[in-house]
Symmetry: C2
Amino acid sequence: MYIKDKGHTVINSVREKRTYLKMTQDGLAEKVQATRQTIIAIEKGNYVPSVLLALRIASILECKVEELFRYEKI
Amino acid sequence: MYIKDKGHTVINSVREKRTYLKMTQDGLAEKVQATRQTIIAIEKGNYVPSVLLALRIASILECKVEELFRYEKI
DNA sequence: TCCTAATGTTAAGTTAACATAACATTAGGT
DNA sequence: ACCTAATGTTATGTTAACTTAACATTAGGA
């Protein structure tokens, strides 16, 4: 992140939701109009997506953005 | 946006929620740990924030991310 | 065991999302 | 009209969020 806020991170449950829906990374990527690498990176926590992508993912994974991405203290 | 998807945009109601709560751009910026310019840019639709910022803004403006940022067709 | 689907890794490039800063404009109160 | 707070504008720079692409690894079924 650009904003340096030590002591906080964004944890997501994309992988959990995705596998629960028996969806593949590739399938999800296609549905949210992103690449597989992007999904992998997000699942691995390599980066946090934009709200645009987050809204799409949440939509496809049938849940709210806040239950998919949690802003937590370390 | 990086993702080219003609026919769609992200519309937000940050300004409405903010003014409703009688909060200033500067005040909001400070609370979400961003700059005033960032708030202005978001309100003007110049760019969509990251989920991190979106989560913070939604939290401060006391609403859900999806009611603050709507993915709409043009 | 072999084949394939799914997942992971790395690199290199582009654009968007931030920041800082300095200055201009508007709106409202006295 | 004046002052100040709030808002808007423009420019420049850095980093994160993406992309494409090529290859490596893992897991599971026939």
